[in-house]
């Protein structure tokens, strides 16, 4: 490659750049397999809701394949470029690869174009990745249904978006959920926002928001075997991140332990 070939990346598209380097490109599309079904590893309960000072994003840690628990320490709430969060449900292999592509794409765009990718551009990129993943999803081995949470400089506030398996995306106001344990969580959040809390979810303090998210994940794990509960004996806690104008904050395990003991299990 000559040095003058470097201008090929001038579009700012990291996916296009990867496609120029054979072997480096993520390939989310496969032909339908004829060799029998591969047991799909799945997850999850993920949730995001607005509270008084931003958006809380939470996810359990369990990954399952059929009735087998494959892992109890999976990180399903993933930081993207230090500014956004992708919460993943479905196949971890595909979802984590999508998170890596997104992370590199946002950084690549910022560095190569000397500008941030627009919110619409970010949403479209994730939609494109999901669309390219559709053959895997239809094959039953790679479905991904994520939540994307980012700070929108135009509205000066964080926003929640949820996707379907085809890449369609919608804004979640004031909450969005995903994964096999989301049915219970969705119902509770809807009830609380309308009748359970004066001022709705967005009036919750930071601590109350964390308490609520832990209680929701415990409830989900009670009904859904694919959602991991809190295993405080093994110090396996959900991952909870807060998105606000100040950036991203990961809630520490010590605080989670304290809140779980006093506000979830001890009540």
């Amino acid at each position: 490659m000559k040095i003058t070939d470097s201008v090929k990346g001038a579009s700012g598209s990291f996916v296009d750049l990867l496609k120029q380097h054979q072997g480096a490109s993520p390939n989310f599309s496969v032909e339908r397999s004829s060799s029998g079904k591969v047991p799909e590893i799945q997850a999850t309960t993920i949730l995001a809701f607005h509270f008084s000072s931003g958006v809380l994003v939470a996810g359990d840690r369990r990954a399952t394949a059929g009735n087998r628990i494959m892992a109890n320490r999976v990180e399903k709430v993933i930081e993207i470029d230090g500014r956004s969060v992708l919460a993943i449900s479905g196949s971890p292999a595909q979802a984590i690869e999508m998170a890596r592509v997104l992370d590199h794409s946002f950084r690549y765009y910022r560095r190569s174009q000397l500008d941030e990718m627009s919110l619409e551009g970010q949403l479209r990129l994730l939609a494109q990745l999901l669309k390219e993943n559709l053959p895997m999803a239809m094959n039953g081995v790679g479905g991904v249904v994520p939540l994307f949470i980012t700070f929108d400089p135009e509205t000066n506030g964080p926003r929640i978006y949820f996707y379907d398996i085809l890449g369609a995306h919608f804004e979640g106001t004031p909450f969005a959920v995903g994964g096999s344990g989301s049915l219970e969580v969705q119902g509770i959040l809807r009830f609380l926002d309308h009748w359970g809390l004066p001022g709705g979810l967005s009036s919750l303090s930071k601590k109350d928001a964390i308490v609520l998210s832990l209680r929701l994940l415990e409830t989900a794990s009670y009904f859904d075997s694919a959602t991991g509960g809190v295993q405080s004996g093994d110090r396996i806690y959900p991952v909870i991140k807060l998105v606000s104008g100040d950036g991203l904050e990961t809630v520490g395990e010590d605080l989670l332990k304290e809140i779980l003991e006093t506000e979830v299990h001890g009540v």
């Binding site: 490659m1 000559k2 040095i3 003058t4 070939d5 470097s6 201008v7 090929k8 990346g9 001038a10 990291f14 750049l17 990867l18 380097h21 072997g23 480096a24 230090g82 890596r100 592509v101 590199h104 950084r107 690549y108 910022r110 560095r111 190569s112 000397l114």
Partner: protein
């Protein structure tokens, strides 16, 4: 031309002279390790010359904007593909400069039938502490010069040496180092005699020096960036108030 070695050497020498002549219009770029990361500073007339390349890595450059852009994109493309394919920890400035950019610059420089790249750059990488920070000066002919704690590029070795002598000899905080860097960059760029200084850069005529310095600053935009050791990302800093 290739049948006669003398002609080839002559062409290379002319090419070198031409590039050096083109670089004469450039203002210097300075990079120094500080406690918080690596400070990069330059004053530019038209376009910024300091860029983030990858996590923990940045580049400062002088030369023709189009050529700087080619090297910048080559560095960004290579590091991002490498970081995605393997891990961000596998992307290193040493490999990027010595194994990727240097050979390409050398072959481009020696290809006398193509237009030359007018380029001189500094590549920096933050480590866990200032002692682990890496600095590589990369020249248009592919020469790589590694250094520690600081690096300077300018339109000539004399000017670079002059600026180097003014840089802090110990690792300071960003707040302490920045005025020293600005002073070194500005004072080092001025003609000592015309700006009221002696041959060692000692100020003899305060009033003349102040006027020359104000003129220098009024004709250029400051570009001050901190490559943050903690986040690995680059952020812009304002010009400190000068006495």
């Amino acid at each position: 031309m290739f049948d006669e070695p003398y002609r080839w050497v002559d062409a290379i020498n002319q090419r070198r002279d031409y590039i050096e002549e083109q670089l004469k219009r450039s203002s210097p770029v300075v990079a120094v390790s500080v406690e918080e990361g690596i400070l990069l500073l330059s004053f530019y007339r038209r376009t910024s010359k300091i860029f983030e390349i990858y996590d923990r890595m940045a580049m400062g450059a002088i030369g023709h904007p189009a050529d700087i852009e080619m090297i910048r994109m080559a560095a960004i493309n290579t590091s991002h593909v490498e970081g995605f394919t393997r891990s961000s920890r596998d992307v290193s400035m040493r490999r990027l400069t010595m194994f990727t950019l240097s050979p390409k610059l050398k072959s481009s420089f020696e290809d006398v039938m193509s237009s030359p790249l007018i380029y001189r750059g500094i590549f920096v990488e933050t480590g866990a502490s200032p002692r682990e920070d890496l600095f590589y000066e990369l020249d248009f002919d592919g020469q790589v010069k590694p250094s520690k704690i600081s690096a300077v590029i300018s339109n000539g070795e004399d000017l670079s040496d002059r600026i180097r002598k003014m840089l802090p000899s110990t690792v300071l905080s960003g707040k302490e180092a920045l005025p020293v860097l600005v002073d070194a960059c500005v004072s080092g760029s001025l003609d000592f005699e015309e700006a009221g200084m002696d041959a060692d850069g000692k100020i003899l005529d305060e009033d003349l020096y102040r006027r020359k310095k104000e003129l220098f600053l009024s004709e250029r935009e400051p570009d001050i960036q901190l490559l943050d050791r903690r986040t690995g990302l680059m952020r812009s800093l304002p010009l400190p108030s000068m006495p």
